[in-house]
């Protein structure tokens, strides 16, 4: 049986999740030139937010009732933490040396991981996440799991919403203006502080949706889930061209497909048996990143803009 279509779908699904998280990296970078390394942990807290809602709801609640509430819970928790981080960890450092907020972000990332590890009940090992009932959906040669259906719907909807928001609304245009030149934007009457908070919040909303998708797809959430995924999402954002929201999504999809293809096919190339398999997928994903950056340093969709001093 030809497994290529299924492997493509596997890759696209994984990539959509990377993309959802990558949007948060790229938006914050585009506006304040900060690599928010705590974003992976904001994703993680979103997952625990959703789980908390599920645990509060009375047992036996239908998933169709619970899921929207869980998404809301995830969004509230992730946004609160992201906005709080912006207000108390990053804003005081704005205008300082560029490494200061970066180190803060790394510290915040560890702090959030271990806060969940210490204080969330039974979070020292992975916690099971509720599942959507029902069997998989067969579409010709391709099988889509019930847990993935959410991702299939959520990822495009979120992207369409974001595109509309950034391009069509007043706030969105304010974001674009701030990204291009914060000082001029300020002179033109854009409240840049507010715009930055909105960028963090939007990133957190996407991460929260991504976290619910993660829980549904893999059946577990744990305190470390944001670390590796955050790193991959950041890679996706760089691959797509950091600062560009479509680039983040494209970068995510490319990275997801590349990893899946590397897992499935590299070891079938004669002479490459030792370099194949899932344990090498990350290596190939980063080889791809290096190749892309050598050819296009600005990333797939990045624009060639002069670096701000």
């Amino acid at each position: 049986m030809n497994e290529l279509p299924q492997q493509l779908v596997n890759g696209l699904l994984l990539g959509s999740m990377y993309g959802l998280v990558a949007v948060g990296y790229t938006m914050v970078y585009g506006i304040v030139q900060l690599i928010n390394f705590a974003h992976g942990e904001i994703f993680m807290t979103g997952g625990f937010g959703a789980l908390t809602v599920w645990l509060i709801l009375p047992g036996g609640t239908s998933m169709w009732v619970a899921l929207p509430l869980m998404i809301i819970g995830a969004v509230i928790v992730a946004t609160t933490i992201a906005v709080g981080a912006e207000r108390f960890a990053y804003r005081p450092l704005r205008g300082g040396p560029r490494l200061a907020p970066l180190i803060t972000a790394i510290g915040l990332s560890l702090a959030l991981q271990y806060a969940v590890w210490v204080w969330y009940p039974e979070a020292k090992s992975a916690r099971t996440f509720p599942q959507i009932p029902g069997g998989p959906i067969e579409l010709g040669p391709v099988t889509i799991q019930t847990g993935d259906v959410f991702l299939v719907i959520a990822a495009p909807v979120c992207m369409a919403f974001l595109a509309f928001f950034v391009m069509r609304t007043r706030t969105g245009r304010g974001m674009q203006a701030t990204a291009q030149d914060p000082d001029t934007a300020k002179l033109m009457g854009v409240n840049t502080d507010r715009i930055i908070v909105i960028a963090f919040a939007l990133g957190a909303i996407f991460a929260a949706v991504g976290a619910v998708a993660y829980g549904l797809k893999y059946g577990v959430v744990d305190y470390k889930m944001g670390f590796l995924l955050g790193l991959k999402a950041f890679t996706a954002a760089v691959l797509g061209g950091i600062g560009n929201i479509y680039g983040a999504m494209i970068g995510g999809l490319v990275l997801g497909v590349a990893e899946t293809m590397a897992t499935a096919y590299v070891d079938q190339i004669p002479g490459m048996e030792q370099l194949g398999g899932q344990s090498w997928a990350n290596v190939w994903a980063f080889v791809l990143l290096i190749v892309v950056l050598l050819a296009r340093p600005q990333g797939l969709l990045g624009e060639r803009v002069a670096d701000r001093a």
């Binding site: 890759g11 790394i106 992975a126 799991q145 993660y214 899932q278 990350n282 340093p297």
Partner: protein
């Protein structure tokens, strides 16, 4: 522009490295059990993952060792000696394990160490302990190379470290035992073999594959996974299309659970089989009870609940009201601790009731000759420091929990 890309790359790499190394060691002072009574205090060190994904197994090891120490103190088993347990957390990481080993070596009252859980961690500790002539008894390491040298598979067995012992049966028999059961009893013929490339997982998968093909089983595919990720969909699709009827996984439950879940959801009609690191309720929890139903795990020794010698252990464990279950290695941990206590007793008795100056070296010698009836059967060590007990058991998930289906002594 070029500078910016470079900056991004460097920051990504340094951040990754920073975050990884930040998972250092952390002390756990919870396991102290200082007893009453005068004389000298002998410390028994304990190293296991008490936090992180494998903590369920680690905490069971800690509690059981604690119980052994308490029992010895209560009975005044060694006259004039009070035992104390010093508990350290290795988070299943070799680097943390080595730090803990150095720490234990530096403490002169430590005469023996129980642990660790992971074979990979043991590798990083062996030399530190051996140089200090400090005895180490692992309740759970199953990689044969630890005691029989790296070339054990080709028959060239050589003991590398005189101070290393274990009460757990090795993968050299665990893998083949699983292969025999899957082929002869479960009547499976086409295996897809997956491992996580760690010392334990790759060793187990290798020994399974060898015996499986010798028996006439077909290997329809192999994969190596990265246990740190959770997305195994590509592997799951491969398993489904390979037509395998059994998946053997060499690795631990934190990755095995999601892996089994994704393989079965992909529509593959397979039974997942693994070693003792799958034999945990956590596996069933992570895979989901429906997905895990019917899966097998082998584990070392006979089921503790069926052994007459374990009755006292079970009763005492319950009486102590430990928060966590003793899990797969509880009995072995108790026996490991007890073997050190026996060795100390021998040394003290042989020296007129006092600890000699070179107590550590003497304990190593004494442990080689230890023999007693423990929780898991008779405990004694062969010329490599391995247990002489070759009992193994196959467990199957039935109604959402592992239940023993076959227990046998492995014949080579």
């Amino acid at each position: 522009m070029r500078n910016r890309s470079l900056l991004i790359l460097t920051t990504a790499v340094t951040a990754g490295a920073l975050t990884l190394t930040a998972c250092g060691s952390r002390d756990d002072k919870g396991g102290d059990s200082s007893g009453e009574g005068g004389g000298v205090t002998v410390t028994i060190g304990l190293d296991a993952p008490l936090t992180g994904e494998l903590s369920a197994l680690g905490l069971g090891i800690k509690n059981s060792a604690d119980l052994a120490v308490k029992t010895a103190n209560k009975k005044q088993y060694v006259k004039g000696v009070t035992f104390k347990l010093e508990t350290l957390d290795d988070q299943a990481q070799p680097s943390a394990g080595q730090q803990n080993a150095t720490k234990l070596v530096a403490d002169k009252t430590v005469l023996g160490v129980v642990g660790p859980l992971n074979s990979g961690v043991a590798e990083s500790m062996q030399k530190v302990f051996d140089d200090a002539k400090l005895v180490q008894v692992s309740p759970a390491n199953t990689n044969p190379a630890l005691s029989q040298g790296p070339n054990w598979a080709s028959g060239d067995k050589k003991r590398g470290y005189k101070s290393y012992f274990r009460t757990a049966t090795t993968d050299a028999i665990q893998g083949p035992f699983a292969a025999q059961y899957v082929f002869n009893d479960a009547k499976k013929t086409k295996a897809f073999i997956i491992d996580d490339k760690k010392t334990y997982g790759a060793g187990l998968a290798g020994t399974f594959k060898g015996e499986w093909e010798k028996l006439g089983g077909k290997t329809v595919g192999t994969q190596h996974i990265d246990p740190d990720t959770k997305d195994f969909s590509a592997v799951a699709t491969q398993v489904k299309n390979s037509g395998a009827d059994v998946v053997y996984y060499g690795g631990e439950y934190p990755a095995a659970g999601p892996l089994a879940k994704q393989i079965k959801e992909a529509g593959a009609k397979v039974t997942v089989v693994g070693g003792d690191a799958l034999f945990s309720p956590e596996y069933v929890k992570l895979a989901g009870a429906t997905a895990a139903e019917g899966d097998f795990a082998t584990s070392v020794g006979a089921p503790i609940e069926t052994l007459a010698s374990a009755k006292e252990f079970l009763a005492n464990y319950k009486a102590e009201n430990y928060k966590e279950a003793f899990e797969a290695y509880g009995g072995y941990s108790y026996d490991s601790t007890w073997s050190i206590i026996e060795a100390v007793k021998k040394v003290v008795d042989g020296n007129g009731g006092k600890l000699p100056d070179d107590a550590r070296a003497k304990v190593v010698e004494a442990l080689q000759g230890v023999s007693f009836e423990g929780v898991t059967g008779s405990v004694a060590f062969d010329e490599f420091g391995d247990t002489t007990n070759k009992q193994l058991t196959v467990y199957q998930v039935k109604n959402g929990a592992f239940a023993p289906v076959k227990s046998d002594s492995f014949g080579e």
